[in-house]
Symmetry: C2
Subunit: 230 residues, 2 copies
């Protein structure tokens, strides 16, 4: 067997290389995973990140609205169900609210967004706007930060369980669910992107979309870091 | 018991009064339900109406994308599943393609939209754009033509079964499904609209949205009537 790198391999490699721009290497995130954040800093991160969480189903619905492919829509719909749940008290957004309670925030102060700093709001809104206004395949490509998520989630779970023992372990259900969901989602998104992006230009746009998404996550971290110190 | 008309009753009555503007009274539709259409006219209607059908999930996803209420989103999602199905070969769009086959059209000529006339395209696109760009409650209100759909579907089923005996009855599964789905959907949409539209201005906008939707359906009929004669 000889290993021949195809253009698709190069494309996937270019996408995967963005792992180095993923927000897990942001100083605030490094500090979080090393157990160096205070309770107030953890609370600030959880409250701000909720704005991202609650906008995910709307971002995904915007992709659905732009996508003419029924088979892709059928699969993409599961992301919305994962976050919204199929009944009251279920789903990822609810799980994040419980994380909020586990770190000592009320549901109300998380849901009403009082702690959300402008930089986080702008970054999340930019992501939703991207999904609404860009071609749907680019929006799918922007979701590919999920390729890097499982490693981060595993690290984060370990860090939270060992270093932040003041947080009830039941509050970490969101991270555990994502360990299972993110690989399934990123595998589907990668298949969609490699199927639909055939020209150099289309592939460059997909890579740019993923780069943009890395910027979104990084800018959120910057804004949280600035607000809560490190 | 005294019957006291509340403002909500007046509002619901104003919405329901649009039944008289529903497309079932369009001459082409009257002719269809009276069994007076030729095979070519039925085919023209089925092929053109497909453009509406295939855009429904994208319209509904646009509403989801604009809706911040998780409970509403959870319920609204079922509309997308109804049309797209949960697996290949299921759902309302597939059922409409089978109706196309039952009336003598190939799947290909229905799916590629070659028979879709500009007036139908413009009307459907206007509806999708409305859902994308208007406040989500107005977009929900625009769906309330479903209040009038079950009567039409029942009439249409009878007409097709008795008058157009050249159409295989299995092809009518879409209409049968809507007999069950439309009342459930319109009941939910009406509850959303009456809950969220509390001021006179909000209610006027909801009524205007339903009026707009009646225009969409009527304009489609006009365009089909013009193209296929009556």
């Amino acid at each position: 067997m000889t290993a021949v790198l195809t253009e698709t391999d190069d494309f996937v490699a270019a996408l995967r290389s963005h792992a180095r721009r993923y927000h897990d290497s942001h100083p605030f995130h490094v500090a979080m995973n090393e157990g160096r954040l205070s309770q107030d800093q953890i609370r600030g991160w959880v409250a701000n990140r909720f704005y991202y969480q609650e906008n995910i189903p709307r971002k995904d619905a915007a992709i659905l609205a732009n996508c003419p492919d029924r088979a892709v829509r059928r699969q993409w719909l599961r992301r919305i169900t994962d976050h919204d749940g199929t009944a009251e008290g279920e789903g990822g957004i609810e799980a994040w609210l419980r994380l909020g309670e586990a770190v000592g925030l009320t549901r109300e102060e998380v849901e009403d967004g009082r702690h959300v700093v402008p930089g986080v709001r702008f970054a999340v809104d930019a992501y939703v706007t991207f999904a609404r206004t860009r071609p749907w395949v680019e929006a799918v490509a922007s979701s590919l930060t999920e390729l890097f998520a499982p490693d981060l989630m595993a690290q984060r779970l370990t860090a939270f369980e060992r270093r932040y023992t003041w947080i009830d372990g039941d509050g970490l259900a969101y991270f555990r669910a994502r360990l299972r969901q993110a690989p399934r989602d990123s595998e589907h998104a990668l298949a969609v992107v490699t199927t639909h992006c055939r020209t150099a230009e289309e592939r460059a746009k997909a890579v740019a979309a993923l780069s943009f998404k890395c910027d979104v996550l990084w800018a959120m971290m910057d804004a949280i870091d600035r607000a809560y110190g490190n």
